[in-house]
Amino acid sequence: MADDATLRRLLAEIARGGADQLAELYDLTSPKLYGLILRIQRDRALAEDVLQDVYLRIWQAAGAYRPEAGPPLPWLCTIARNRAIDSVRRKVEHQGPELDHGEDWVARLIDPHDGAADFLDRNALLACLGRLDPMHRDCVVLAYCEGQSREDLARHFDRPVNTIKTWLHRSLAGLKTCLEAVS
């Protein structure tokens, strides 16, 4: 994975219209972004459309990236995640079978694959996730990493949608309080 300085330079050049730099940015970051998109949008053809749309947005919005708002990779990843979520929420029916049921995302975060160190404050978030009720934590992590909706989670945990909503709100409020305390 490319370092922050390289990505910042590429974004600045893309903002000035550098198409070659967009290709370079694509080569450096598309596996990470595609990985995120594909976990959420499981239809590969649709996931590819989302990926292309994400880089067209980056092409248009590169100048809006402000270094003081944080490192560039999470900024790019957030665009990808949001477009992937938009793409699955537009469909009424959740698509396809899950790829590998029961992925332990928290364990992956503790023992990360390449690239996880690019995200700041990993330990703080891990510590705070660890303080949540395990089922509530799974709810948050499945929503975030796999794009599961409240309805998906209700089926997954065999609970009413309103219960899921309560769990999510309780967990998110707990995370916020905890992150503010540890940072």
Binding site: P31, Y34, A69, W105, F119, L125
Partner: protein
């Protein structure tokens, strides 16, 4: 959510909506509503930003997957091929726009900047070449309604609630390959302006806030904030 007026929700509820947006659990309708709200309300946008930052480390847990090469090829083919001079103008205006968005977000002065970018490119022309844009100045009511007809080469500008900031004028521009050309001031009454003979693909129409009587330099100098969306009629 409750579907009521967002401004009336207690802070914690607004924060939870932003949190669920960042988490991804809002439905399509609520997501779209919050995206719209964030584009007009810097406080909403920054609540979402904060939540996205809080949760971002989780993205580190998801392993990369190499996309098939066809995506890269399709992406590079899809990049718009804009001519050099027009591109420079567009870039300059976009930069100015972004600066103002940043400034407006910081100072809550969104309503002070009124502007519009309208692409009049033939590549995106709807049948009949007519577009409608409703320009908002940060409030709920439209400030300007602009009708662009690329076939007759005329743009009609109808102010609805457009008050130029005290002591300033609103000026309409066409920006094409030869640079920005002033089209005239936006007055209190509806007016009609002629577009230049050559309306190149990817030309834009912009409204900027200028000193009284219009820009002294013949180029846009004032705040430019994207607030209008172009709708094909």
């Amino acid at each position: 959510m409750s579907g009521g007026r967002p401004g009336m929700e207690p802070t914690s509820e607004r924060d939870m909506r932003a949190a669920e947006y960042a988490l991804g659990t809002l439905d399509a309708q609520d997501r779209a509503a919050l995206q719209r709200e964030a584009s007009q309300d810097p406080a909403t946008a920054s609540r979402i930003d904060e939540w996205e930052r809080r949760l971002a480390p989780l993205m580190g847990a998801v392993p990369p997957v190499a996309p098939p090469p066809r995506v890269r090829e399709a992406l590079l083919r899809a990049l718009p091929d804009v001519g050099g001079a027009a591109r420079d103008e567009l870039r300059q205006l976009r930069r100015q726009m972004r600066r103002w968005q940043v400034a407006a977000a910081g100072s809550g002065l969104l309503a002070a900047g009124l502007a519009l970018f309208v692409a009049v490119g033939s590549s995106r022309s709807p049948a009949g070449g007519r577009y409608l844009a409703v320009v908002q100045g940060g409030g709920a009511l439209p400030a300007l309604i602009v009708r662009v007809d690329t076939q007759t080469g005329l743009a009609q500008v109808r102010p609805v609630g457009a008050d130029a900031p005290a002591g300033r004028s609103l000026e309409l521009w066409y920006v094409g390959a030869e640079g920005a050309k002033p089209l005239g001031l936006v007055g209190a009454a509806p007016s009609q302006v002629k577009l230049p003979q050559v309306t190149a693909p990817d030309g834009v129409i912009a409204v900027s806030v200028e000193p009284p009587g219009g820009s002294p330099s013949g180029q846009p100098t004032g705040p430019v904030v994207y607030t209008g969306k172009l709708i094909a009629e």
